[in-house]
Symmetry: C2
Subunit: 478 residues, 2 copies
Amino acid sequence: MLINDLPRYEILDEAAMAELDRGWRRIVSELGIDFLYDEALDLFRAAGQQVDGQVVKFDPDWILEQVAKAPAEFDLQARNPAHNVHIGGNHMVFSAVYGCPFVREGIERRDATYADFQNLVRLAQSFPQLDSPGGTICEPNDTPLDSRHLDMVYALLTLSDKPFMGSVTSGPNAADTIAMAEIVFGRESLEETPAIISLINVNSPLRYDDRMLAALFEYARAGQPTVITPFLLMGAMSPVSIPATLAQQVAEALAGIALVQTIRPGCPVVFGSFLSNTDMQSGSPSFGTPESAVGLFCTGQIARHFKLPFRGGGALTSSQVVDAQAGYESMMSLWPTFLAGTNFVMHAAGWLESALVSCYEKMVVDVEMLRMLHEVFKPLQVTEETLAFSAHQEVGQGGHFLGAAHTLERFRECFYRPLVSSTENYERWNRNGGNDTAARASEIWRKMLDEYVEPPMEEDLKVELKGYVDRRRKELGD
Amino acid sequence: MLINDLPRYEILDEAAMAELDRGWRRIVSELGIDFLYDEALDLFRAAGQQVDGQVVKFDPDWILEQVAKAPAEFDLQARNPAHNVHIGGNHMVFSAVYGCPFVREGIERRDATYADFQNLVRLAQSFPQLDSPGGTICEPNDTPLDSRHLDMVYALLTLSDKPFMGSVTSGPNAADTIAMAEIVFGRESLEETPAIISLINVNSPLRYDDRMLAALFEYARAGQPTVITPFLLMGAMSPVSIPATLAQQVAEALAGIALVQTIRPGCPVVFGSFLSNTDMQSGSPSFGTPESAVGLFCTGQIARHFKLPFRGGGALTSSQVVDAQAGYESMMSLWPTFLAGTNFVMHAAGWLESALVSCYEKMVVDVEMLRMLHEVFKPLQVTEETLAFSAHQEVGQGGHFLGAAHTLERFRECFYRPLVSSTENYERWNRNGGNDTAARASEIWRKMLDEYVEPPMEEDLKVELKGYVDRRRKELGD
């Protein structure tokens, strides 16, 4: 968890903010949003909103009244209290890639398996820059579909002791997640401080589907935070305009957040953003784009305006391999992630190929970038001591600082030390195999996996958790 | 040339700025700076500064009086007026990599030649994102050392019609550069609006050497701008502390700028920064580091404080090849370059391996990054039109924007279009050869070189220029 005390980068003036305000109000009130879930429609109707079939037209001020009930910041507990995080304010929490059906390991691209899921969770546990393994770190395609969520939550709870993300594939799956968390944390503790954060995607444009809403209801009732995220690839799910997309994002996110507050006032919730654009030549989604960078600056500013913690960014790329494009596109999305002060960062490490692939090497490369940016976004201490006039006196004109006493006292800690980057001169680099970044990253994750130690869990607890998984799997017929 | 109207990212508060102010004043007044050039010492002595051997101890307020004579912004003319640039204010000018002894072309790394020099100048001429080919775009090792500067200036003046950088290897070489520019621009025109910008490196710490000073004198007398650049790799040429290095940078740069203003008051000059750090494990220079990013934010803020245009940043990396590290380190230095609003950006494209290598493929990759960042740093227009409510009305809930009228009217121009990045799906990408970014970049620069057209120059002028080169080469005994 980074406390980012550097300035926020904001590019919208008051007139622009006012224009966007008019934009989302018009969308929710004149067009309305589909909610494909009767319980949601009943709640909105009871609250005096205009429900016509599945379309809900809102009074924007009613939405804002509900949104005001959401906390601006909240705590999320981990199995290991040292890994508890705080979401909101100047805090930035980083979680791993989420939702990929494939994995890449070196030059091999294949269907992701449960073994991959476990290994990637182990790696996320091992890197201190990742505050959470996230949830679906890859899709374990070799496990039965109906009970897969049980296997994933079991791995997340046993192989890691960091906060985790819950299943959202259905209401019952969300209920299973909560039940398993109750076994580990206890119902009271969970009620007092949430331990599960879950991703609710909007079926954009302007539609929430039944499965996501069923999961949202489960988590909201249990007081567990959800990340309400319009899924916006401009040109496909939203207009080919950043301002239009921002207005849509506000409309969709605030409507969902209002629903959460109607279900359980005061329930923690995160304003989510997943905003990029379509490549209009290929029709493919495009990540790490200039448009998504601009969108992220604006999203941060907007979320702060509504006093909500927000999610966005990550180390995103469309690249098929861990090459230069993967590096620069990921930085293209990580820089604005930090500049915007993003509170909850999904996909912070491991994302490749527009999120089709969870990549082992990319995870290492992304962690390097996170480490570098953690270093940048620390306030600079300008003091008599750091001015180090004595070092200038010591070395004088035309001298060299490498052997200076001032340097020797500090050389171990004075600068960032890379994880995978190389500064070796060409001859030495060549002698050492001439490995590019991806090849060096491969060595690193293998070593980390070798050195991984499972975080301790009481045996009784583990048996109980396993018993729950086995029982439910049987009930689900797998 | 980009006009960057987005906000500057500034991280120093008033107390920090005041501390840095104390820092540089103490260095120039108590330690002093070496000037290995009698004419400089004479001028300083005449101006009442304390000269002891080669060390000059300054009255900081006298330095500030001189610095105040330098213009905050100035024009630089190009052979083609459409390529004139403005240096200072919100303007950002980008020039190519500078000073590398080697080139890389695909997997081949070799001594750079004059043919490489010419080809790289042609490429810099071809990319609209590069405002200047710079100067020593690579070192033409196969030309005679004494007259090499003539060949370089000839290529810069004939193969490109953008502004260029002059020779600084000696006073006479600078005089040759000016004489050749006079042939092309005319003495009066050159006097009215400068056409040569040249890099004067400080021999840090706290020393200006005789060759650089001789060149500085030539350019200052001719009213041509120089970029006065402390050469600071922390741990080698400055203390292992960012604030100490910033104080040293101010001390060194302002002393040189004061000298320029003493030679010719009002002569345009640029506050230069080349600030990175040593990898304390290998002792190698390290580029695209967190420390250099922080240094760049501060440098921008400091230069604006002194009302001087400034140079910094670029697409820097220590990587040996065009891989993920090359991508993310270059972005690590390009993002702060833009955020700081850097007025003159050297090494904006083509830099590899800590500036030992000018790389063809890297130039293409860097131009892609420049294109993307040009797009980010444009103000966002939030208006009734860009809110595009009609598009939302048209598509409605659960629809798709790809076929919408609003999209069809705009799809060609609505988003950034990549130069080398790929969004192809995996199958298609594989079918097309499965080429990584570097391989695709290779195709692009070859095609651009094929399509290059030499910018027109009157034959008489070319002959006169060539005559000058031949005559001077003979005089120099090559």
